[in-house]
């Protein structure tokens, strides 16, 4: 794959650590005794809670209603009785209302009609996706129906399927592509009926040659004209802006959306969720999570019900091999460090990583050396160190003028900084302060 594409500027090459779980087939995680299901599992306003303590719920039942287009519905992942409604902290530090369900009773969800989607109109398809509470599973959890609602007069040239999975350790998407390629294609076909794109591109990094092959074969068998495109290994290629630059060579304008350059990007996991919503009549209550890290006894790819506490997953993977130094929800480059293992898995949890000192150790911070490595690593063409200095000196206006809002916190700058300056932390702070000032 010598001619594999990639984005031209910035990016880093962290070790991928995927060998822990690359060969591990997806297996079902145990059903938790108690599921904690947050009402805020997506970008945008939280869902409105529809149940009260004492209510009986069944698997797939709507328990949180979307409060607008920037919100998403939440369903129960288990049958049982609502024990309490409480406030919890999500891994990203945001407070959310959560429904605690004591599991009891039968899992008795019925499959849907596998051919029904072919007769549905665009609006019916979108409505179903909305009802099923589907959000982007790549990490940002952007409400999917909103993404697929194309305004009159705009045209989708490219529908891009993101199978890059550039975060180290994570293999959830990789396994999904290997094991569920036909299901993913069905999901893509359903979405393609809504978007009517001129072309469908499936981007996969070349450290997953088996996935490229399996998907290319599945596309051929199904007689589709989708292109499976191998991409050169480089973080953060899985970011939609970088992925579009790699695949179609165009840049999403600053502050804009992929649609501004005629593209819509969805994760392979999202395509699979769409498949399940239509063919299995199943709302988004389960997702594949990579549970990995050098401090974990038996790393695995698990199909996990939303609301399952992290501690259950760790236990199911044989517990700790050595005492962990850091526990992360998500990937090591953009994920959030967890304070304890009670946090639940949500729709956006792509991985749970238990890192030991050799991976998560940190060196002492020194003055900036002006080495310029952060500038060369930044895929957005920003000057991370200058932004950091502005923010450090409370000069938020200057930071904004230098493109603070274009930063997506991919972590390349902090990853290469020899002075170990917490650049991403600075960016996050800067954005938070800017938002506070506006409010």
């Amino acid at each position: 794959m010598k001619n594999a594409k990639t984005f031209p500027r910035g990016g880093v090459h962290p070790p991928d650590f995927k060998s822990y779980t690359r060969e591990e087939a997806i297996r079902n995680a145990p059903v938790p005794a108690e599921a904690v299901i947050p009402m805020s599992q997506h970008m945008g306003s939280p869902a409105e809670c529809l149940v009260q303590p004492g209510d009986d719920v069944h698997e797939g039942m709507l328990i949180g209603r979307a409060t607008g287009p920037f919100s998403a519905s939440v369903h129960s992942s288990v049958p049982g009785k609502v024990k309490e409604i409480k406030e919890i902290y999500l891994p990203n530090g945001i407070k959310s209302q959560a429904v605690v369900i004591a599991v009891e009773g039968e899992f008795n969800r019925a499959d849907g009609d596998p051919a029904a989607w072919q007769q549905m109109s665009k609006e019916e398809l979108l409505t179903r996706i909305r009802e099923m509470g589907i959000v982007g599973l790549g990490g940002a959890t952007f409400p999917t129906p909103l993404k697929y609602s194309i305004r009159e007069g705009r045209k989708v040239e490219s529908f891009v399927i993101n199978g890059v999975e550039c975060e180290p350790f994570l293999t959830a998407d990789h396994r999904l592509m290997l094991e569920k390629s036909e299901e993913i294609l069905t999901g893509i076909r359903i979405v393609a009926r809504i978007l009517e794109p001129e072309q469908v591109l499936i981007g996969i990094e070349e450290n997953k040659p088996d996935a490229v092959e399996v998907l290319a074969r599945a596309v051929e068998n199904a007689g589709l004209d989708y292109q499976v495109v191998p991409l050169k290994l480089k973080y953060p290629q899985g970011d939609e802006k970088q992925l579009l630059k790699s695949l179609i060579g165009r840049e999403v304008p600053s502050g804009g959306l992929p649609l501004d350059i005629g593209a819509v990007v969805s994760n392979v996991g999202t395509a699979f969720a769409v498949y399940e919503a239509f063919i299995k009549n199943k709302p988004l209550v389960e997702r594949v999570v990579t549970v990995s890290g050098s401090a974990l006894a038996e790393p695995a790819n698990l199909k996990v019900r939303v609301g399952t506490p992290v501690s259950d997953l760790v236990e199911d993977c044989g517990g700790f091999k050595e005492s962990p130094v850091k526990i992360i929800s998500g990937g090591p480059m953009m994920g959030f460090a967890l304070a304890d293992l009670d946090a639940p898995v949500t729709k956006g949890t792509s991985g749970i990583l238990v890192l030991s000192r050799k991976e998560a150790g940190r060196a002492v911070e020194t003055n900036c050396l002006s080495c310029g490595r952060c500038l060369r690593a930044c895929p957005m063409g920003l000057q991370p160190v200058n932004l950091y200095k502005y923010i450090d000196h409370l000069r938020y206006e200057d930071a904004l003028a230098e493109g603070l809002m274009d930063c997506k916190e991919c972590g390349c700058c902090s990853y290469v900084c020899p002075a170990h300056i917490p650049l991403v932390q600075g960016m996050k702070l800067g954005k938070l302060m800017t938002r506070k000032k506006k409010a």
Partner: protein
């Protein structure tokens, strides 16, 4: 879970590529060692004393200031590197108080007054050297002859470039280039140089190689302790390139610009006219290799972007040429680099990267 107390909470990213300020400083220090050891071999233990004095003075100064500021910056090892570079930029016969003063000036005035490592706008070691050069010009331009020439111990003489600079005041005497000029002035060479030149001339070069180039390349010439061996400086830099501690932009553009200018105009000082300058001679003489590979590439005082580094390298090459050929100093590297250091903020401002997503559609 019972182990919760030991869990780290930080913002992302949770991985790091592994380098640190300390590892960079140590890597550069280690890559510089072979050239310094050579300096001690050719100039004797006197050279070692000079280098050690510079390092001790530098580390002590940083220690005292750290104490005063209550912020210990010694572990980043930059003071060792600065001291080493000050020592390398000293003639071996210099009185020991001079490297000490240069180090104190480098650390206390050039580095610490601006906020310590990373905040200085001029290379501390070079600034230290320039400071003592102008203060004690005599001892700073007295050169110990290398032991490899086989002469008397502790004999002093003119450096290659100094000999030419001084000699050319009375005209070139018909010499076609610097090597011939040295030969006309009976400038000595090591027996090794003469033997190897003879051997090379019987084969590869077919009689075209003049005496002296081998001495220049290997480092059997009078000069500063760490600058004489172009060979060992080049070898040491391979590791720095491999580790990406230095990138190609500054060394390549610096040396290329300088070489082109020497090639085009260098012959004018003699009777050979345009396009007859002796590039090889000037590349390996003076402090050019030390400057281009280890001092111009100092992260703190060089531009941030690739484009900026190219501008910086071209500027340094141009200034070195100008000073060496038309200034009153035989050298020029240190002054050229610290002059370019002053332009770095301006270069950075002019070479900001174009941000992603700001391109006009038409320009794609």
């Amino acid at each position: 879970m019972e182990e919760n107390k030991s869990i780290l909470i930080t913002t992302s990213p949770h991985l790091h590529e592994g380098s640190s300020t300390r590892s960079i400083m140590l890597a550069v220090t280690i890559c510089l060692l072979p050239a310094g050891i050579w300096g001690v071999v050719v100039f004797g233990l006197r050279a070692l004393a000079v280098v050690l004095t510079a390092i001790v003075a530098s580390v002590l100064t940083e220690a005292v200031i750290s104490r005063v500021l209550k912020r210990n910056t010694l572990p980043d090892c930059s003071a060792i590197l600065t001291g080493l570079l000050v020592g390398y930029n000293m003639p071996p016969s210099v009185p020991l108080f001079i490297p000490a003063v240069a180090s104190v000036f480098a650390i206390a005035v050039v580095k610490m007054t601006f906020g310590g490592l990373g905040r200085n706008w001029m290379n501390p070691a070079l600034a230290g050297r320039v400071f003592v050069t102008f203060s004690w010009t005599g001892p700073m331009t007295t050169w110990l002859l290398p032991k490899t020439w086989g002469g008397a111990d502790a004999a002093t003489g003119a450096s290659v470039l100094g000999f030419i600079k001084a000699g050319l005041i009375d005209g070139s005497g018909g010499a076609q280039g610097p090597a011939q000029f040295l030969a006309l002035g009976n400038y000595p060479h090591s027996p090794f140089d003469l033997r190897l030149t003879q051997w090379l001339n019987t084969g590869l070069f077919g009689g075209r190689l003049e005496a002296g180039y081998v001495d220049l390349f290997v480092g059997s010439i009078p000069g500063c302790i760490g600058e004489v061996s172009a060979l060992l400086l080049l070898l040491g830099s391979i590791y720095l390139f491999a580790r990406k501690i230095i990138t190609w932009e500054i060394p390549v553009t610096y040396l290329a610009t300088f070489s082109v200018l020497v090639w085009v105009f260098g012959g004018l000082r003699f009777e050979s006219g345009f396009f007859h300058g002796d590039v090889l001679f000037h590349l390996f003489s003076g402090g050019l290799m030390l400057g281009a590979l280890y001092m111009a590439t100092d992260m703190v005082t060089s531009p941030l972007t690739s484009k900026g580094m190219i501008i910086f390298g071209v500027g340094a090459g141009f200034l070195t040429f100008l000073i060496r050929f038309y200034g009153s100093f035989p050298e020029g590297v240190s002054l050229a680099i610290i002059l370019m250091n002053m332009f770095v903020p301006l270069i950075n401002r002019l070479t900001k990267p174009v941000k992603f997503g700001y391109l006009k559609e038409a320009r794609q």
